[in-house]
Every structure is written in C-alpha cells, then in structure tokens.
C-alpha cells in the first residue's frame, strides 16, 4: 500500500481523497483537511475573495495542492478565462473544468468541457474535467489531454451515491487515466463502494461540509476510501465480483 500512488499528470499523491471547500464554515476547513489527510483541495475561484474580509485562501493549509475549479463558467470560453485567472493569481497549474449551464441539476456540459480541456491542456494545465460519465466523451477528453476524468456519481449535493455505477465502471475498465468519482457521494460506504470497484480517487464536499461533526466525518471518509482501495488491490473474491458460482465444476464431465 505504501507504494500505491495516485498519479495525476506528473504529480504523485498518497491520498486518494480530494476535498471540496465550498460549503464549509471557513474555520473548519483545516480540521477537515487534516482528518481527511487530503493532499488536494478544490477551490472555486469565484469564492477566492480578494479584499479585507475572510478569504478562503487563508484557511486552506499551505501544504496541500490547490485544485481551482471553473464553476460559474457556462461555456468553454468562460472556463478557459477562469482557469487562466486562477493561474495568474498563483493557484498553480491544476484546474478542474466545471462547465454548467443548468442551474437545477448542475450537470456538466460534456461538449463544452471537451473544448475547454483541449485548450487548457495545450497551455500546460493539469486538466481534470468534471463530466457526465459517457465513454465516448471520456475518450475525447483523454485525447484532448486530460490528466484525469471526474465522472459524477449522482447530481451534485444529492448524496445519492453511485447512481451512475455501471457507466463509471466502464470508464474504469476502458480509460487509462485516473477516474475520480465526483459529486453525489453522500456516505463513506458509497465512497468505499466506488473505490472497491476500482475508482482511483473520490472527491466529496457536501457530505462532509454538512455533517454534524465535520472532522470526524472527514476521517470516516478517509478510512472508507482506504478500505475500498485496499479491497480493490487485494482482488475481490470471485463470488462477490462475478455473482454466484457453482461449487462443483460444470466442465468436469469433459473426457480428456
């Protein structure tokens, strides 16, 4: 397990838990990061206030990698502009593309996302697109230079877990990039399930930010993610993986 690294672009991470920062009371972010042992934290650039009142950037521990997102963007152009702005103000080269033009479900616009991915990857960004789990789109994102893909498990904030399970599984099987399940994960058990299935990492925000005890929930998620990863690496028993199997061989009748 010690050598089990999550590799995004040319960067290595030991943690497979990406934390959102959008829905917290600022003074709890630090405890959440520590208990989650997260090494990557997302940041909505639109929240990164400048001015004399509390700036979320001041509350994010300095030793974690910032993953600025482009929330607020409704098309590729806007996402590209936000990403460049993030880089200009010193948020680094990582960017999570989030292009949403649906205020009800907050579904990502896959088509615009591919366009933005291509432009930003060419500009040297480590691009991590939030996407609706569609195999063709995931391939296009890979070809456009994405460093990971971030399919949604369920609508943002819905806590519904892996509603798109089967489609994410296909991405895991077919795409040679880290598959990071983003959105919809409401409980540690759901995070664990995604990891068991072979997801490379989990991104969660609402589930932790709205928990009764935030640091404790962050820790619970971390443990669930680690457990799921370990189960995946150890290879699930065939019964669990492939359904029921007969105890005596069905092919024993063959005469060899």
């Amino acid at each position: 397990m010690d050598n089990d690294k999550l590799i995004i672009g040319r960067h290595e991470f030991s943690s497979r838990f990406i934390l959102g920062s959008g829905k917290y009371s600022l003074d709890l972010i630090d405890a959440a990061v520590k208990n989650a042992r997260a090494e990557i934290i997302t940041l909505a650039l639109r929240r990164a206030a400048t001015g004399n009142t509390a700036n979320i950037l001041d509350y994010i521990p300095k030793d974690v990698t910032l993953l600025p997102n482009t929330s607020g963007a409704r098309n590729a152009d806007e996402a590209v502009r936000i990403a460049r702005l993030a880089r200009e103000i010193g948020c680094g080269d990582f960017v999570k593309i989030e292009i949403i033009r649906d205020t009800k479900y907050l579904f990502p616009d896959n088509y615009e996302t591919i366009k933005a991915c291509e432009i930003l990857a060419n500009e040297g960004f480590v691009v991590m697109p939030y996407m609706y789990p569609d195999l063709n789109v995931a391939r296009s994102l890979r070809d456009a230079g994405a460093s990971a893909v971030m399919p949604l498990g369920a609508p943002i904030g819905s806590n519904k877990g892996l509603a798109t399970r089967e489609f994410i599984k296909i991405l895991i099987d077919e795409i040679d990039l880290p598959i990071i399940v983003d959105a919809g994960i409401g409980k540690p058990s759901q995070a664990c399930e995604a990891m068991e299935m072979g997801a490379d990492a989990i991104m969660a925000n609402t589930a932790i930010a709205t928990a009764g005890n935030i640091p404790q929930m962050a820790e619970a998620f971390r443990k669930a993610i680690e457990a799921g990863r370990q189960a995946y690496l150890s290879g699930l028993g065939r019964i669990i993986e492939n359904g029921a199997s007969a105890s005596s061989p069905l092919t024993g009748f063959l005469e060899n």
């Binding site: 959008g22 829905k23 917290y24 009371s25 600022l26 909505a44 650039l45 639109r46 929240r47 206030a49 001015g51 004399n52 009142t53 509390a54 607020g72 963007a73 409704r74 152009d77 806007e78 502009r81 936000i82 702005l85 033009r101 649906d102 205020t103 009800k104 907050l106 904030g157 819905s158 806590n159 925000n205 609402t206 930010a209 709205t210």
Partner: protein, 384 residues
C-alpha cells in the same frame, strides 16, 4: 372619475416578446385553490424527493400548516445540500427615489410628498466606497421607477462605478426593454430583480393607478427580457399580502419554474417581502401574512426549487432573519439604508421607501451568522 389607461395593454415603447409563460402563470394561478388540498396531499408532497407542481401547491396550502415543523426540517436539509453553510451578504443602494408610478402602498409613489433626490456620479462613488469599506462585495442598485429622472444611461453609469468596488452587481429598477438590458449588462450588471407585487391582475389594476408600472404584462415579462439580453440571473417576488398571498406565492413559484425550464442556465432567486399587517385579526383579514405563513411560503419555495437563491428582507426583524437563514434563506442584506445618500458621510438627501426592522451593520450580521455556525460569503461570482 378619471379614466385610467388599460393595464393589460402594452404602451408603444414597450418590447412585446413571444412567450407563453405569462399566460401559463396566470392560468395556473387562477386554477389554484389552496383550500382543496388535504393532509394526504401534504404528506405525499413530503414523501417526494423532488417536488412536483402539485406538491408545491399542497405545501403552500392551509393543510400544510400543521406540518410546518416537518416542512422546515426538510427545507433546511435541502438548503444544506445545495448551499452548505454558506449565506451570501449584500446591501441595497438606492441612488434615486424619483418615481412616476402611483402605487397606493408604496412610500416612493409619485403622489407622496417626500424629499426626492438622485445621486450624481460622484455621490454614487462615495456611497459605494463607504459600502465597500464594510467588506461587502455585492451591491444591489435600486431606483424609484422614473425613466425620466433615472434613465438607462444613468443606471448604466452607476453599474460601471459599481464594478470598480464590487464583484457582484444586481439591479432592482424599473422594467426595461431588451436593448436596455443588453446595455446595462455591458456596463457590469448581471442580475435583475423585479417584484411583480401581485400576479392577480385585477387586484394589480386597483393598486397601480398610473405610470409604466400599471402595465401588468410588460412587468411580468421582465425576467425573460433580461435573460434574452444576456443577464445571468433573475429574481422574482410578490409583495405578499397585497392580494391572496397563497395564490401570489404559487404564481411566483410557477413563474420562476417556467422560466428555469425555458432558460435552464438562468440563476433563479426569490425575494419574500410582505406587507406588514397592521391589525392581525383573523376576522378582519384572514389572509394576513404572519411570520408563520411567511415561513411556510419560504420553505415551499425552497422545497420546490432547492437550488434557488432566497433573499430575506430587512422588513423582517433580526430574530426572524437569523432563524430563516438557518432554514431556507441563503442571502441576507446588511447595513441597509433605504433612503438616498445614507451610506457615506454626506447628509441624507432623500426619504426612505419603507421602514426597516433590522438595522444591523454588516459587522453585526457577519458575526451573528458566524455565531450560528453559518459562513458569510461576500461573493460567489466570477465576472467572465
């Protein structure tokens, strides 16, 4: 008696857009009979993870009142899911109180002999500097409704100045044509709120006796014109208590719902102003909107459109506001002055539109939110 203009006919200078939303809203409102909903309808509504129009109707009905606690709990759950602990802060800035409309219930109406005033560019800048110094990053620019005294250009200039001091600029001014909104959008405003006041067009006619505002359908299509012009978000409100508040709240929700379906990218916001009842006596006026009913309406908006922003007015007292932001509202004004020129050091030039009940400063509201475990957010917006 003086013959008044037909309130259902557009004036020659008003854009007429092709849209069936107005008719659908009116139809839905006319069909809505709050008294026909039963306890079972309310229970069914509470069961549904995503609320239908019928659920919304039931949640607004008198039958839902005994379940208000449960409704509030569900509303809080939805609010947390979509907004976490965040509560946005802003302040309104009145730059002019000249008004050509004669709305019988409003302090600014053209028949009222109040001190009228309008800030010039320099004064607007001073006011904005003073507001920005409190830490706020969102401003809502307001005027009385006089195109003559506060023209589109004048409002545009105010938006340009605002962009130097604030990250978010919203407007609550008279309804405009599409080209005007396009211009204002270029000047830096991205959100347009217009209160319909009441969706009951017969009642509307008796309350809005003169001025452009008298034209009911033009006002009702404001949000759509603003979105066509490229605005990012639109706000909706009925002034609850002018007419049957349940019908008005239902129509407001339907209006927002239909707009969001037609323009899925539009950010939707509700305001929930109410006429403060003078005498709370059920026998005199059974349709009074008290705090209980107001809470019911706000929670119904939240459950019907969990992703919408809901603003709580300073018409309400500190106790109600502090509690409602923990349940369903997501936006609160602070350091409010509804007169003209009250923020800077200069003398106040013009009178107030209404009496506020929560005069707390930005700092006070900020710290109260924090004490209650909520996170004040000054801007959740990026200008692209």
């Amino acid at each position: 008696m003086k013959k008044r203009i037909d309130h259902m006919n557009y004036l020659p200078d008003m854009d007429k857009i092709k849209s069936d939303i107005k008719d659908k809203v009116i139809y839905a409102m006319n069909e809505y009979n709050a008294d026909k909903y039963t306890e079972n309808d309310v229970l069914a509504a509470l069961e549904h993870s995503s609320k239908t129009v019928k659920d919304f109707a039931a949640l607004l009905s008198p039958a839902a009142l005994p379940y208000l606690e449960k409704i509030a709990q569900q509303a809080q759950y939805e609010t947390k899911k979509h907004f976490g602990n965040s509560v946005n802060m802003f302040t309104p800035l009145y730059i002019s109180n000249y008004c050509d409309n004669y709305c019988v219930y409003c302090g600014f109406n053209c028949r009222n002999k109040i001190h009228r005033a309008k800030l010039n560019a320099e004064e607007i800048e001073k006011e904005m500097q003073a507001i920005a110094q409190t830490g706020l990053q969102e401003v809502l620019i307001l005027t009385g409704e006089s195109k003559k005294m506060s023209g589109v250009k004048y409002i545009g200039e105010a938006c340009k100045i605002a962009r130097n001091y604030f990250k978010v600029v919203g407007l609550e001014v008279y309804p405009m044509n599409i080209d005007d909104y396009r211009y204002i959008h270029e000047c830096g405003a991205d959100y347009v709120t217009v209160f319909q006041e009441t969706y009951d067009f017969e009642k509307y006619e008796t309350l809005h006796l003169a001025g452009h505002k008298r034209i009911f359908p033009y006002r009702l299509e404001t949000q759509e014109r603003a979105l066509i012009a490229g605005m990012r978000g639109v706000g909706f409100a009925a002034l609850l208590g002018l007419a049957d508040f349940r019908k008005d709240a239902f129509a407001t929700g339907m209006h927002a719902y239909l707009i969001q379906r037609k323009y899925p990218h539009a950010e939707i916001a509700f305001s929930c102003p109410r006429l403060r009842p003078i005498i709370n006596n059920d026998k005199i006026n059974p349709k009074d909107v008290r705090e209980t009913q107001l809470l019911q309406v706000i929670c119904a908006y939240r459950l019907f459109m969990p992703f919408a922003s809901i603003t709580i007015s300073t018409r309400e007292c500190a106790r109600f506001r502090d509690n409602i932001v923990n349940i369903a509202a997501t936006k609160i004004s602070a350091g409010v002055d509804v007169g003209i020129g009250g923020h800077g050091n200069g003398e106040k030039k013009g009178d107030e539109q209404f009496e506020i009940s929560d005069g707390r400063t930005v700092e006070q509201i900020y710290s109260t939110l924090c004490q209650n475990g909520l996170q004040p957010v000054m801007s959740d917006y990026i200008y692209v």
